[in-house]
Subunit: 354 residues, 4 copies
């Protein structure tokens, strides 16, 4: 079987380089070219290195960056993985879809578009159907699928598992978000070292709306949002990779902590049933130690090797005043970024929509 | 007026050194001796330096540490400010009270004792009356007053102001706690650098019970706890000083954000009315910038100079789904530690209980 | 005596804000206006806060930034303290000098100009004479004086003391430089957290030439450079303020370590003799502890209060194979930045060149 | 071929866990047991996790720690890999050697013993002969081989290459050492965050003597030390893994920078010739970028996968005043710790001394 040619957009950035990492030796996909803004044209990938565990990138270090030429990409690639900034992503991704490219993007620009799913294969694989209502889908075969915001992703699967089993009424979430979530150069070091910044532009609004869209349904051409309420407080901490999130959950039923744990540990989704290449065997890991999850130990959770950084880790399950408390964490630029979109494209292939 | 002689217990530690700093040139109190465990006997204060802004300590750097001799302390001092570890604090502080010393302590050992107030002068000055029911009070004149846990302190005044004005029903709080809260050596650097640890032993339980005790009443010889519920998630972040806390508040009334802000900004307590030396003129500061409060900018808030680090800063007031959201921060070893106890002693003097 | 009106250029930046801090309630100088690029016009100083110990800035937080209008500045100010970037500093500072303003600058643009001294009042006060050979000095009364690069400054006084006493032949220096030295936004946090970057553009070349210029002489209209050699390795570490530098010194004489220490401790310069307001009483402090100097404890060394951050701290004096070893540290944006230029202006006033 | 049974001593510590990581699926060696002090007896390895990239340890996470029983270890194991603290290492390792065990240790206790080599297989494989003069070697077959101090290791191979090619006269080195070098709990976070500590006990003395011992010879039963001089300044920086070191070199010859680079890049040693399992194909990597090596990018350098963290990276080759300057870095607990000893044992096997 010949592999599907893919373009990586925004290859000089944090997410773009995670795309390259996730796509190395991929069984379905083959990188055709690395694209970025004109400013970066001709640069070696190795000279714009952002990702710390760059051993994954070693073999492509000498590859050169090209400028984004829509018609060239459309001619050569079935898929574009996009890690470009939101302001640029809006028009560029629309043009690519019109030109027949399947766009799997980390950018937020199209997330609230009427027929664009915010897709997490373990959570809302059925919402993939929405792409068939995108105008370009029937004309050129192009379409747009977004992954969720990195903070929403980190808790979407646990919330889905819990909502299905026990009914979710309210979610109180506070984030401890990693620096890589702001891209590069991102947060100035003078704001980061020894400090916490309790503000991330539009992040709380995104969490409060995206989770409801994802855990809702797509029926008769429209998204119906889930009914539970989300109250989010977001802050940036001096951690490199891995978003930690504290949770207080208000549920319809009152399971024991053991039942709650079992519900999380046994959760499996479409990617696990389909055995997609980047799907973690166990999508939600529950740690029993009293001080986990921690970014430095748990951000890269996920097995097999191709799914490292793709599992969500939950710990410190507790009860208090009728509420449930927990901490959750996930890798913000793998599961919550490039890895999310790669898994979406794997699902597309399995569903025959490529 | 001659000054009151005071002992500082635990002078080699983080809190002990903050006591020394707060007591330098104090108008009421004069340090008689620095005390610590036998291990530290004879050491120069300068050789066991813990507090980073040590210029405050410069004049006492050559002072020597003595071992804790109860009868010597009782003979020479009316007050002991205690920054010793909880396991040691229990018996030592009881012995001092029995020997006639007024103990103002940062340790948690006696916080839930029947007649021991957890005192924050802006919040529950009336609970000071409880000490008169301590057995030692009438026999030797000794008694014990504790300050609150550092995380509880940081939000106690805002919660008090809000409860009085609008009625509190539920408090959802997540903490971003500084390293100095764990004392010295405290958290190993390998756990702290680039990491968050989502566990602080007994901290959540303390927050959930102490706030209710403090915002309750002391009547007929008993503490009656406040009725609102607290759900706490506590985590340690790589910040040196200053606890940040995210809040979601469920209130009986639904004020506008302007009314909420006005309520916080205009809040004044007993220390402000009495113009106590370490009382900040404005105990709750509200920042309007979208990215404050931050530890590096706001931990030391408070005026005049003697009250630096004694104000609480609140920011990012928002509404969401009928709840109110905010971030609050305060200095964990000043307002939430040594400074709290010094202010308690100042209140004792003003009330004539010294 | 009425105060001298001064302009602060680059008021939105790290150095500019240190100028404002050093000039608060200054006995000689009064800030007439805060200036920066057009982009910042009209902004509140409080909204572009960079310096962490901002309590010093509190009283000017509401002051607005103006754009740099050369003729307006020249009309209203005798002095311009400049913290603007080097590329802009070259022409702007020349224009100001031509317009009659005495420019005291932190920028490097004019440091190697023929009659511009790199001035550290303790080290080379006589080189101030060079300004009288600047063309503008006799026409408009304007002139330019630069402070040294922050890394050079940190060791200039100790090297001067040692060169005078024992003769310097070679200096091997490695730097551990703080993030604030790169300005704001400066170093991206993803490069800084948990990392060291062994490269600072042109820093090593500056150290190897500036120290020789400063420790040389100005005679017959020309700078004669000192003869000792400097070999520098420069690196950036995740420290906020305070450059630490390791030293291996090759001297002509072989003093005992006690003699070396005495030479450093007893060193006094022109600012001490003239009792300039920002001069530390003791310009070189020697610490005897085995683990000092450290940025968090020693960066702010210097007394009285106005001279905080203006002393250099030296520690760990050792001998090895005929060489002398030590660590030195100083505050890079106070002594090595804004404070250096303020002290230069104070010397100018004392010398009657204002 | 059946594998050789080995014991890991100090399995709860930083170095012990790196031993376990390096020995996972090792072609020659098989872990028989994990040993530590009595305090840790019976603990799960997973509960005393220290190393951040713990995925390597996953399969042994449930393994239990045993107390160090010399006769049991001697009965079951040919080799003991020791990561125990120096005070304990002295007698324990001697007893093991007497009992017939080949001890490969990271501890410093025996480094200066008369017939104990400080071994780096690329640098001084011939010094392995010294073990044959250890009394136990001929009686029980037991012996002791130490790896070098982590800072010495990081530059030993480059210095060896340069000394052989161009003759070394003097080495001026300053270190930027990682926190993991101090073990766990090691450096308190309050000393590490945003700080540099310019003191590591005995480190400078070790560097100044160990390098000379290693680059010397062992002849007629005695070590003859190399003649070049080392002047070291050592400091601890807030980096997790990877020691960076600045170098100024005084050489007999004056090669061009290209010649110097070629000498380093083409260097190969005994482990490369013997293709030992943990030997990096290229032991010295030279980076051409102007800002490398950096801990976060280069600490794990080394190929193939088993040799990750075993290569030394050198960068920023420069000339200045007749000296050569460079930065070097290596992984302090892999190449400079456990990995060094594993490579030593691999060499022992290849030489038939096991």
């Amino acid at each position: 079987m010949s592999k599907i040619s893919v373009a990586v957009l925004g290859a000089t950035g944090m997410i773009g380089q995670r795309f390259i990492q996730m796509l190395e030796d991929h069984p379905y996909f083959e990188i055709e070219g690395l694209y970025a803004s004109e400013r970066s044209q001709g640069k070696r990938l190795g000279d714009v290195l952002k990702v710390r565990d760059h051993e994954y990138l070693d073999d492509t270090m000498d590859r050169r960056i090209e400028t984004m030429d829509i018609s060239k990409i459309a001619k050569n690639c079935r898929i574009a993985f996009s890690g470009i900034p939101s302001d640029l992503a809006g028009p560029t991704e629309s043009q690519l879809a019109e030109a027949g490219v399947a766009v799997f993007t980390n950018a937020g620009s199209h997330r609230m578009d009427p027929h664009v799913p915010i897709l997490i294969p373990e959570v809302n694989p059925d919402q993939f159907e929405a792409v068939k209502d995108q105008p370009t889908y029937n004309s050129t075969g192009g379409y747009i699928v977004t992954n969720a915001n990195c903070s929403s992703t980190g808790i979407a699967a646990p919330l889905k598992a819990i909502d299905d089993a026990f009914g979710l009424k309210q979610v109180f979430v506070s984030t401890y978000q990693a620096l890589s979530g702001a891209g590069y150069p991102g947060v100035p070091s003078l704001d980061a070292v020894g400090n916490v910044v309790p503000f991330i532009s539009h992040e709380e609004e995104k969490m409060e709306s995206e989770l409801a869209k994802m855990l809702g349904t797509y029926q008769r051409g429209e998204f119906e949002f889930a009914k539970f309420k989300v109250m989010a407080n977001c802050a940036r901490v001096p951690v490199v990779d891995g978003h930690l999130e504290s949770l207080v959950l208000d549920m319809e039923q009152q399971p024991t902590l053991e039942e709650l744990e079992r519900c999380l540990v046994s959760f499996r989704g479409e990617p696990q049933r389909l055995e997609l290449p980047s799907a973690p065997v166990q999508p939600i890991i529950v740690r029993k130690e009293d001080n986990r999850p921690q970014p430095v130990f748990d951000a890269m959770a996920g097995r097999p090797v191709r799914a490292r950084g793709m599992a969500v880790t939950v710990g410190r399950l507790r009860q208090s005043n009728g509420y449930y408390k927990a901490f959750a964490m996930s890798h913000n630029t793998l599961r919550g970024g490039a890895g999310g979109s790669v898994l979406n494209a794997e699902l597309a292939k399995a569903k025959g929509i490529l």
